[in-house]
């Protein structure tokens, strides 16, 4: 057990935990942040996506020991922001959400992309979402939603 300190959804946190434990488990169970999902446990599906220093990371692959000093944002925290409101609005207006299980990960992927590239092309969007699997939508409506978010969020990113 080691003391691990990082920033979680804007707040400084400290936790005494086995550093090899998956960040996913620490977030869901120790911090009760169930917006982060487990879809596969092998880094393929992206349902566990979080932002680490503003970049998308599959939290099922990251040992919490590597989180020391990092700025971690989960969907639970991100959903309180203005950028989220724009992304949510775009996803809703484009009908991009079906069962919803992949969606927190998709929203995180959207933020990670727009943060680096506020005006992505369709190809860049697909590449940015390539680590987030969706079985319901066929992806096209999600891609359109990201384009819409980029359009509407001019100035935010």
């Amino acid at each position: 057990m080691t003391e691990i300190k990082f920033v979680l959804n804007g707040e400084n946190v400290t936790i005494d935990v086995d550093p090899t434990k998956r960040l996913l488990d620490v977030l869901r169970e120790d911090f009760g942040l169930t917006g982060v999902k487990e879809g596969c446990g092998e880094g393929e599906c992206g349902a566990c996506s979080v932002l680490v220093d503003n970049e998308i990371v599959s939290s099922c692959l990251m040992p919490v020991g590597n989180a020391i000093g990092k700025d971690i944002v989960t969907i639970d925290g991100f959903s309180k922001t203005e950028r989220y409101r724009v992304i949510h609005g775009a996803y809703e207006d484009e009908g991009a959400v079906q069962c919803g299980f992949c969606i927190p990960g998709m929203v995180i992927a959207t933020e990670s992309l727009l943060n680096k590239n506020p005006n992505p092309t369709e190809e860049e969007i697909r590449d940015a979402l390539s680590g987030n699997l969706c079985r319901c939508t066929g992806y096209n409506m999600i891609v359109t939603a990201v384009l819409r978010a980029a359009e509407r969020g001019r100035g935010l990113w």
């Binding site: 446990g41 092998e42 599959s58 692959l61 590597n66 992927a109 987030n132």
Partner: protein, 283 residues
């Protein structure tokens, strides 16, 4: 229960490494899957764990002479965006992993994992990568083809770690990179290929190529490459079949849950043909 060590400096890390036999935790993208346990339970490590991915001293990309020095804990994402990294390595990195993995996976971890299907490997082979190993009080440099000795096996001994990767800053006139997976992105390779050619006065100066996922380790043949040196368009045609035959002997793919030996072999030969076509095309 296993202990975890999270050193603050590289010095500290080396010191800890010297004391104990430990498992090196870089980004975790391979290890956390290999050793995974049920949800909520710690991974199944059978010895102490040394966390090295956050060591700032190992995160760098520096040009020196005709070489590029890459710290072992440089992430794949950093490699993707850095100006000095050769294009062919960037192509390989973009195709090999999703953003959620690239942001934490390290080049050192990828090499240390030594997967026969590792996508960065064929590129590193043709860039004459050398692995700088540190530990037990000394540093040594080993060419990558001697560093990786089998599927998942390297010459890294206990109490050693990868410090740096050195690649030739060679600029090819023509590049050919192919990755064949089960889908367009984020897939384990069935076959991968990296090739580069440079010319001097219309004749081949450098001809290099390497195949991944079709043998226990990456296939590269300096002797076959040497036979291409100095050739012009007609010369290339005259040796094509012989050289193809040479590679055919070296490529030993298997049947597995992803693909078949017969397919892998045929595709390698087809890609080689494409590469030869590119080589002979004087434009």
């Amino acid at each position: 229960m296993v202990r975890s060590f999270i050193p603050g400096t590289y010095e500290e890390a080396l010191g800890l490494l010297d004391e104990n036999k430990m498992i090196l935790m870089a980004g975790g993208t391979d290890l956390m899957v290999k050793k995974r346990n049920w949800a909520g339970l710690s991974p199944l490590f059978d010895r102490d764990v040394l966390f090295i991915s956050e060591l700032a001293e190992l995160k760098y990309i520096r040009k020196s002479g005709g070489f590029l020095h890459i710290g072992s804990m440089t992430t794949l994402e950093d490699i993707l965006v850095h100006k000095q990294i050769p294009e062919i390595l960037k192509v390989a990195v973009r195709l090999m992993a999703s953003p959620g993995i690239r942001h934490i996976a390290t080049i050192g971890g990828n090499i240390g994992n030594a997967s026969p299907a590792g996508d960065s490997l064929p590129v590193l082979y043709i860039l004459d990568a050398k692995i700088v190993i540190d530990g037990k009080g000394t540093e040594r440099m080993v060419p990558i083809e001697e560093f990786i000795v089998g599927p998942g096996k390297t010459v890294l001994a206990d109490r050693e770690m990868i410090k740096e990767i050195v690649i030739n800053d060679v600029r090819f006139d023509k590049l050919h990179y192919c990755k064949i997976g089960g889908r367009k992105s984020d897939a384990i390779s069935k076959v991968s290929f990296a090739g580069g050619i440079s010319y001097r006065k219309g004749r081949i100066e450098e001809f290099r190529c390497a195949f991944g996922a079709v043998a226990p380790t990456v296939v590269r043949s300096r002797s076959l490459e040497a036979s291409m040196k100095g050739l012009g368009t007609e010369g290339i045609e005259s040796v094509r079949n012989e050289v193809k035959h040479g590679y055919n002997e070296l490529i030993r793919p298997i049947d597995d849950q992803r693909s078949t030996a017969v397919y892998r072999k045929k595709v390698c030969m087809n890609i080689l043909d494409e590469f030869f076509d590119k080589a002979g095309d004087s434009k």
